[in-house]
């Protein structure tokens, strides 16, 4: 059972960090949403609908960040063969997929009042759609083998291949978008965004980050307990 010696340390650490992270997540998200809904001004064109951005944009950031975390964990798993690394990557994947889905769904909900359509092929949304499929691919590959460790290793390689390809895909989608652009360019509001609009965004993003940490630790703890259970029942 010495495989699980390190996980005992992780279990202790995560047991300590979980309550604080959960509180941080809840507080930051609450403050952020309050600022977003009640303090930031509505857009003169879109009205209150622009507030969807406060969920859409942080979700997009987290979607990319979680993928980066997955790729790093996968690299650690393959190079140093640390057993926790595979579990970290596989626990993070569904969380990232959810953030991606939320980003797509809120993008769609936003598109309807803004452009009168449920989907726009703008560069960011399209890239996020592709990212969603990269997540699904990772999860599918990890679960596609009878031998679970084989699935973990294959998915780890896929994650690294994906992270190398992601900038290329993003670049090509941007390129494609400029080739086919017709009417108004949708801009997020970049550097001209007002401070009153910016800070709730950052606060919510920070809250989402803690939310990710909480969910990741919970999933990893569950995975480790399940592995321990399997070892006890079926012998190592």
């Amino acid at each position: 059972m010495q495989r699980f010696a390190n996980p005992a340390r992780f279990m202790r650490l995560s047991a300590m960090l979980l309550p604080w992270s959960a509180i941080a997540a809840a507080v930051l998200i609450a403050i952020g949403f309050y600022g977003a809904l009640f303090i930031a001004p509505p857009d003169y064109q879109q009205g209150e609908a622009v507030k969807i951005m406060y969920v859409h944009v942080p979700s997009a950031w987290l979607a990319s960040l979680v993928y980066a975390v997955m790729a790093v964990a996968s690299a650690v798993a393959l190079i140093w063969r640390h057993p926790l690394a595979h579990i970290a990557a596989e626990s993070a994947a569904p969380i990232g997929a959810c953030f991606t889905f939320v980003c797509l769904a809120t993008g769609s909900l936003w598109g309807e009042p803004m452009w009168g359509t449920w989907w726009v092929w703008d560069a960011r949304l399209t890239s996020v759609l592709v990212l969603f499929f990269l997540y699904i691919g990772f999860i599918a590959l990890a679960n596609a083998f009878d031998d679970r460790t084989r699935g973990s290793r294959a998915a780890a390689i896929l994650a690294i291949v994906g992270v190398v390809n992601l900038p290329i895909i993003k670049f090509s989608v941007d390129w494609w978008n400029t080739l086919h652009q017709k009417a108004s360019v949708f801009r997020m509001g970049g550097p001209t965004i007002a401070t009153s609009m910016l800070w709730p965004l950052l606060v919510i993003a920070a809250g989402f980050l803690f939310l990710f940490a909480v969910l990741l630790m919970l999933r990893m703890r569950t995975a480790l307990l399940r592995a321990k259970l399997r070892a006890l029942r079926f012998g190592t």
Binding site: L141, G151, I157, I160, V161, N165, I168, W176
Partner: protein, 221 residues
């Protein structure tokens, strides 16, 4: 004979003796392209508009369908395991297999494409760019596809999984390939797009064999 040449000739010999591989790919390509006029109507202007996109997407799918046989047969009869123990580096072997795959998939597709472009009323000015783009792009499909094929060896429902993994990675090739093909047809410069395709080819020649070999090794652990 070098290991690369030995493996390449063996794979080509097997492809021609087992027959049908090349024909299958070409037949699927032709049939899938021909479906589109039935789907969108025979208007020549509409055809010409979507010709490049249709050709590239169906070429992609045809290449995808043939990817499964890249490693699977060797995996099933133990040849792949024996190959991984040869002195020739696995990366070189992957390159040899990708070369054989391209010669029996990408190259026939490139040869047939102009005929099908004719059927789709593709603008004559675009032919050189179309062929150049396919010549540059189809090897990339074989190389990136090799990574997917290596990762899904022995997986449940490997075929569907392979498509799920590889299609997102094909998107850049698709975008630049169609852009190159269409640019010439529209009277614009196709060179920048072709250069991007060449960059993709160079990048995948360097990186894909390495990733695929890593995937093959972990399949044997």
């Amino acid at each position: 004979m070098s290991g690369f040449a030995a493996l390449l000739t063996r794979d080509l010999r097997l492809a021609f003796r087992q027959g049908g591989d090349v024909a299958n790919v070409v037949a699927f390509f032709a049939l899938a392209v021909i479906l589109f006029p039935f789907g969108v109507g025979p208007d020549p202007d509409l055809m010409a508009r979507i010709a490049a996109g249709v050709l590239w997407v169906t070429a992609l799918l045809a290449a995808l369908l043939s990817l499964e046989r890249l490693f699977d047969a060797d995996y099933q009869d133990g040849s792949l395991e024996a190959l991984s123990l040869m002195p020739v580096p696995l990366e070189i072997q992957v390159l040899a297999k990708c070369a054989a795959h391209w010669l029996t998939t990408g190259l026939p597709l490139t040869i047939i494409a102009p005929l099908l472009a004719l059927v789709l009323h593709f603008d004559a000015a675009g032919y050189p760019a179309l062929i150049a783009a396919l010549l540059l792009g189809t090897p990339v499909l074989s190389l990136i596809g090799a990574i997917g094929a290596a990762l899904t060896l022995g997986a449940r429902r490997a075929g569907v999984l392979l498509s799920l993994l590889v299609l997102p990675l094909y998107i850049p090739v698709l975008i630049f390939g169609v852009a190159a093909s269409e640019a010439a047809a529209l009277g614009l410069e196709s060179r920048p797009h072709l250069l991007l395709l060449a960059a993709l080819l160079a990048g995948s020649l360097a990186l894909a064999p390495w990733a695929a070999a890593a995937a093959l090794r972990q399949a044997f652990e």
